[in-house]
Amino acid sequence: MSETATTFERKRRGINLLMTSLTAVCAVFTIAVLVAILGYIGVRGISSLSIEFLTDTPKPVGEGGGIGNSILGSAIMTLLAAFIGLPVGIAAGVYLAEFGKNWFGNTVRFVADTLIGVPSIIIGIFVYTLVVLPMGRQSGFAGGLALAIIMIPIVARTTEEMIGLVPHSMREGALALGAPQWRVTWNIVLPAAASGIATGAMLAIARVTGETAPLLFTALNSRFYNYYLDQPMSSLTVQIFNYATGPFEVEHAMAWAATLLLVTLILVINILVRFFTRKRF
C-alpha cells in the first residue's frame, strides 16, 4: 500500500517536472525562432545595404537602383494615416472613456474591437471602391486613408484604456472646483494619460508601417520620388512583395535589404516604447 503510494507520488512529481520544463521549452523554442528569423534578415540584408540603395529609385533589372522612393512613400502615407487616424482615434477613445458607459459606448467598443480584427485587405477593397474608382487613379492619399482606417480603432481602444488608468480623484477635484467637463478632460485627464496614449499611437504607427495588403490596390507602386498625394505611391512593403515574388536574384537581395530596414524600424519603435513604459507598468 505504501509502496503504491510512493510510486503514485513519484509519478506525480515526474509529471510535474516534465510539464513544467516543457512550458519552459515552449518559451525557449519560440524565442529561438524569433532570433533565427531576425538573424537571417540581418545576414541577408546587410550585404545589400548602401547609401545608394537607400536613396536611389528603382532601375531596370541589372542596373542597380534603390528604395529611396519607397522609404519616402511609406513615410508620407504613414504620416497621412497618423494625421487622420490619431485625432479621430484619440477623440473616439475619449468618448468611450468619458461618456461611453451606455449602450452606444458599448456598441462602439464592440464594433471597434471587431474592426481591429477585420482583414486589412478588406479595407483595401473598401477604399479602392470608395476612393480610387471615383478619383480615377491609385494614389498615396487612398493608401494613407486605408492605413488611417486601420489605425482608428486601435488608437481609440488604447486611448480609452490609458484614460481609464487616470485616478478618479484627479478629475473629481477639478470638477468639484466647478470646472466644466471638457476643461477637466483637456487640462487634467489627457495630460495625465498623454504618455500612455503616445505609446499606443507609436505602436499603431509601427503596425501600419508594416501593412502591405491595404496598399496593393490603393497606393499601387511607383518608380519615382513622389510628393503628390494624388499619384500612385511606392511603399517599402509593396516593394518588398514585388521584389520577393520576382525571379531576379538581385531583386531578392534588395527585398532582404529593404526588409532589414523595415524590421529594424519597427523593432526600434517597439523597443523604445517598451523602454519608456517599463517604469509605469
Partner: protein, 367 residues
C-alpha cells in the same frame, strides 16, 4: 515618464490639425497642377498591365526619361487583365496587354481604343531539372498533357521518346501556371487550343483559363512563375523568354507546325510574325501562335500598349504619343538585348500610322 502640460497637448493637437489641413489642401493643389500637366511642369503618365514586356518597358521609360526629363512615365506590371481594367476604369493613361482586347471589352469603353504593337515576344517553357541544362524537346501534345495532368512524371515514355539523349529524373512534374489574369496565359493556351482538341474542350483559350483542378500551382505574374520554378526542383512553367534568360534557366524547344523542334530566339520569333504580316488586320489585333513556315517558333505573340484614340488632355496625350513613337522607332535598339524581337518593317509602318491617328479635341497629336 514625465507628464505633459495641457498647453503642450493643445499645441500638439493644433499642429496635427494644421498639418492635416495643409496636407489635404496641398494634395489637392498638386493634384490640379500635375493633372493638367501644362505650363512647363512635369507630366506624369501612368501605365499598368502585362508583365510579359516589363523588362523592355522598364528600360524604355528609364531611357525616355533621360531624353525627356519633363515626362515621367510610371509602368507597373500587374498583369494583362489589370492593364485592360485600368484603361477601362481610366485609372491609367495607358494599358498594356499581350492579349488583344475582345470586341465586347472594347465596346464597353464607349470610345475607340487603339492597339499599338510594341515588340514581339516568345513564351517559353522553362524548367528546373537537376542536371538538365540543355533545351529539351517538347511537342504541343506533351505540353498539353503535362498541364492536363495526363503526364505526371518526368520519366514518362512520351517525354523520353522526344528526348532520347536526356536522363530525366524519376520525379513528379510540378507544372506552374499563372494565377492571375494574364496575356502570357492567353498566348500559351491559344497555342495549345489550336493544336490539341482535348485542351480546347477542357481548358480553352483565356487570360485566366480553367486550369485542371489538382494539377500544378499558380503564381502571380511572369516574375511569380519564374520565381516559383526557380525555387522548386522538378517544376515547369511558361514565361516570357527574357525571364528565363535573365535567370539562366533553360527554355525548351517546341515543335512547330512544320514539325521541327525550334528554340525561341529573335530569328525564330520574327519568322513566326513574318508569315502573317500581309494579313494583319487594320486594327492590328493579331495572333501569331502556331505560325506556318520553317524555323518559326510556335508560341510567339505581339504585345500591345492600349490607348484611347481620343485623348482628353492635350499635353498628356502629346507626351504619350511622343513616347509611343520613340519606343517603336529609336527604342527598338534596346529590344534585342532583352530577347524580344523588333516589329517587322511593314508592321512598324502600320503602327506609325496608328500613332499618328491619336488625337485630342479632334486634332492629331503628332505633327
Amino acid at each position: 515618464m514625465r507628464k505633459f502640460k495641457s498647453s503642450e497637448i493643445t499645441a500638439i493637437f493644433a499642429l496635427l490639425m494644421l498639418a492635416a489641413v495643409i496636407v489635404g489642401c496641398s494634395g489637392q493643389k498638386f493634384g490640379e497642377s500635375s493633372g493638367s500637366g501644362g505650363g512647363g511642369g512635369t507630366i506624369r503618365l501612368q501605365g499598368t498591365g502585362a508583365s510579359f514586356p516589363k523588362p523592355i518597358y522598364d528600360k524604355w521609360v528609364s531611357e525616355f526619361g533621360k531624353i525627356k526629363p519633363s515626362v515621367r512615365i510610371d509602368y507597373q506590371s500587374t498583369g494583362s487583365g489589370a492593364g485592360q481594367k485600368a484603361l477601362l476604369s481610366k485609372t491609367s493613361d495607358f494599358g498594356a496587354s499581350d492579349d488583344p482586347m475582345t470586341d465586347a471589352a472594347m465596346a464597353e469603353a464607349g470610345t475607340p481604343i487603339l492597339h499599338i504593337p510594341t515588340v514581339l515576344g516568345a513564351v517559353v517553357l522553362t524548367y528546373n531539372l537537376d542536371g538538365v541544362t540543355q533545351p529539351i524537346n517538347l511537342s504541343p501534345q506533351v505540353i498539353a498533357d503535362i498541364y492536363l495532368g495526363n503526364i505526371k512524371r518526368w520519366s514518362d515514355e512520351r517525354l523520353k521518346a522526344d528526348n532520347p539523349e536526356i536522363q530525366f529524373p524519376d520525379a513528379d512534374i510540378l507544372p506552374v501556371y499563372r494565377a492571375d489574369s494574364s496575356g502570357t496565359s492567353a498566348v500559351f493556351t491559344d497555342f495549345l487550343s489550336k493544336t490539341n482538341t482535348e485542351w480546347a474542350e477542357k481548358v480553352g483559350t483565356n487570360k485566366q483559363p480553367s486550369w485542371i483542378t489538382g494539377v500544378g500551382v499558380g503564381a502571380k505574374g511572369n516574375d511569380g512563375v519564374m520565381g516559383q520554378v526557380k525555387q522548386t526542383p522538378n517544376s515547369i512553367g511558361y514565361v516570357e523568354l527574357t525571364f528565363a534568360k535573365a535567370n539562366n534557366l533553360p527554355a525548351a524547344k517546341v515543335k512547330n507546325k512544320a514539325g521541327e523542334f525550334v528554340e525561341a530566339s529573335l530569328t525564330s520569333v520574327s519568322e513566326a510574325a513574318a508569315g502573317s504580316v500581309s494579313s494583319m488586320p487594320d486594327d492590328l489585333r493579331a495572333q501569331i501562335t502556331n505560325a506556318e513556315g520553317k524555323g518559326a517558333y510556335p508560341i510567339a505573340s505581339y504585345t500591345y500598349i492600349l490607348v484611347y484614340k481620343e485623348q482628353a488632355d492635350e499635353a498628356r496625350g502629346k507626351a504619350l504619343v511622343d513616347f509611343l513613337f520613340w519606343a517603336v522607332t529609336d527604342g527598338e535598339k534596346y529590344v534585342e538585348d532583352l530577347h524580344y524581337a523588333p516589329l517587322p518593317k511593314e508592321v512598324m509602318e502600320k503602327v506609325a500610322v496608328k500613332i499618328d491617328s491619336i488625337s485630342s479635341g479632334g486634332e492629331p497629336l503628332r505633327r
